[in-house]
Symmetry: C2
């Protein structure tokens, strides 16, 4: 008999019909003799509806009160799912974040989990009940309601799985797993059976929004086996875990990309210590997140400095740059908000040389000009013109044979 | 500096615009230097929406989970009202029933308040904040969420006013007070400036649904001055309190009526001890509430027995009666579901004789046949044919000069 934590996202519980379907899924697992703790999100659209109400009244809404408001979304779902289980003859019991007691810090709207009290849950499991916990929410030492930020239900599920030492944490969503790349761009994209935490982190942060990134970090930290699968179709999904000895290794696991980038370049800055801080300090002060940063030596003890930001922040960042660069005596600034970032991700890179050059060569072969490069141990990212996105992704998918699984690649 | 408890019902907080208006009303009181604790209901329509969701899944819904579900309605309102106050520059803090801690028994969907912890509220008031509490809800010793039943927000407000020893509990609603009778029937109906708890109880239970009856009992028990007034228009409303020495007394305060009655009569029952129980026992077992009961001696050691029920229960009650009366050897049974109950209410009756006969005389004068009579210390109820309702109410309103206030009546 195993203990599973299931998490169902907003689309999976988006209607009373869907909630009944989720109940059936849970009952299947119960019928095999397993214990189940379920974490649910708000019904699809509910959180947006509540945020809109808040904004009609206060902009920005008071963070403490916003959390009181938003936490009702999940509370509705836990009650309805328990009713669906009870209706089908299975004992169930709902708990809000406060009732479990999921203790968090008091950073309203983006709180972090500090501790989970498992006593009440263990008692209720012993009584033979399915437990349904409201995701996304917790409570402070003081008794104030907090939320963990958008997608926080994934984190609740992983944290509960860790605290309860569950056998697996299954994240049910509207996609049936993690793919080698976006199937809307490359129809031959293939579902991965397994992926490591590190790879998943790179894939998630690079725009494959299957799982909240913090939940993957959490799962990695506490070694919680995480499975992403669909609540709409049958299938094994994708297991996210640590790399195991003897695990078949693909060189490249996937290709992530991000359309929302814009790049800004300062040309001919006098190359003195601290220029990175002088350029990026005011950007950070304006709450603009910087993604890639590249600095090149230019002639005459000058330097060229380039960084990327979210496309929505492009104009604001450019205005700030105009001011600071006049002060610094830079020659000129330029920018481009019609760029995208494409990244190859794979733990196999660690042990294989030549991947970067193969990537650059194949892009060049298609006439795609690379505007920026940035690398990490398991990732190579390039920035290219927006219009090349689809061509670049398909070319790399083909070149690195991502449509074939590891077995067939090795037999090549 | 006084402490007021305000309660705003579902219509008063039915939209974000209405919530902003409520914030202005609270700010007016704050600006006069008073402390305010606010109790709110769910936004109009929200509770019905949630009940409908539950019923799509389970019928009847699991009571514990129904309370988890319904309590979200008020939680939404407390957050939005605090945002409205903060937006206008006034510090505010919301509390759910669990957070206050409003301790109740575990009778889910109709829990009773056992205790209210006032420490947290007092601390927050000392910090100069307006407190907004979710009505209608509490928490058990065990940490389970409960609700107090429909209209329970009034009870929350009165209980808080009692626990905090507030100077007055103001119930803001969509009517501007308690009237001598329904103005839709008698356009000359007049708003009462004052009414006693006992009169209000008779008025409420007889169909003037301004306040939840339990909240009036509670207010009477703990001597909380209660004021009913409109959140839409200016005005003093109606103060509900104990009778005070020197208070101007009207003979009759108002005329209540109830359209939803039906009457059943058992004729010629052998008059043996326990017949009332034999007739009404099976009715009670079927969860049918009985209102008026009248028993008359008939010739030949037989008796006639009449009672009234809600019109919706008429057919069911008649079926039950058919069965029991055959067993009892009653001569026949008859019934009528086209009747109404009309009641004169007033503490003045205690000290004035002749009110009943004046009532019967004036109804007879209009050719209205009285089918049943029932009296209490401060109330006389008659049952008449449905078609006489308007005529009877207007006649009594005229005869007892309810369109004139006490002063002008005395000077007559």
């Amino acid at each position: 008999m195993a203990l599973y934590v299931h998490k169902y996202g907003g689309t999976s519980v988006g209607s009373t019909e869907r909630i009944k379907h989720v109940a059936d899924n849970i009952i299947n697992v119960r019928e095999k003799g397993h214990d189940v703790v379920v974490v649910v999100s708000a019904m699809r659209g509910e959180t947006n509806r509540l945020v809109a109400l808040a904004r009609e009244i206060q902009e920005p809404p008071n963070p403490r009160e916003l959390d009181v408001l938003l936490s009702t979304g999940e509370q509705v779902t836990i009650a309805l799912l328990c009713m669906a289980l009870e209706q089908k003859g299975y004992a169930a019991c709902s708990y809000t974040g406060a009732q479990v007691r999921i203790l968090t810090d008091d950073a309203f709207t983006k709180a972090r989990i500090l501790d989970i009290d498992t006593d009440r849950i263990k008692d209720t499991l012993s009584a033979g009940k399915v437990i349904v916990v409201a995701g996304f929410q917790g409570i402070t030492e003081n008794g104030d309601i907090t939320t963990l930020g958008r997608g926080g239900s994934d984190t609740t599920a992983v944290a509960l799985a860790a605290a309860l030492k569950a056998d697996e944490c299954l994240i049910y969503t509207d996609v049936d797993g993690v793919y080698t790349t976006d199937p809307r761009i490359e129809p031959r994209a293939r579902r991965l059976n397994r992926i490591t935490f590190e790879e998943m982190l790179e894939m998630a942060s690079l725009g494959s929004k299957v799982l909240q990134i913090r939940s993957v970090e959490f799962a990695g930290k506490y070694n919680v086996s995480l499975r992403v699968l669909s609540s709409f179709t049958e299938g094994e999904g994708t297991l996210i875990s640590y790399e195991e000895a003897g695990m078949e290794k693909a060189l490249i696991s996937g290709i992530a990309f991000n359309r929302d980038e814009a790049k800004l370049t300062v040309l001919g800055v006098p190359d003195r210590p601290g220029i990175a801080h002088k350029i990026l300090g005011p950007i950070a002060d304006a709450n603009i997140e910087v993604d890639m940063i590249v600095q090149n030596i230019a002639p005459d003890a000058k330097t060229d400095f380039t960084f990327t930001v979210h496309r929505n922040d492009y104009k604001k960042a450019m205005d700030i740059l105009q001011r600071t660069c006049t002060e610094m005596g830079a020659r000129e600034i330029s920018g481009d908000d019609k760029i995208v970032k494409i990244s190859l991700v794979g733990v196999g890179m660690r042990s294989h040389a030549g991947i970067a050059s193969k990537m650059f060569e194949s892009l060049a072969g298609e006439g795609i000009n690379i505007r920026m490069i940035s690398t990490s141990e398991i990732k190579i990212s390039v920035v290219v013109d927006e219009r090349y996105l689809e061509l670049a992704v398909r070319t790399l998918h083909e070149v690195f044979k991502l449509d074939q699984d590891v077995q067939s690649k090795e037999s090549n």
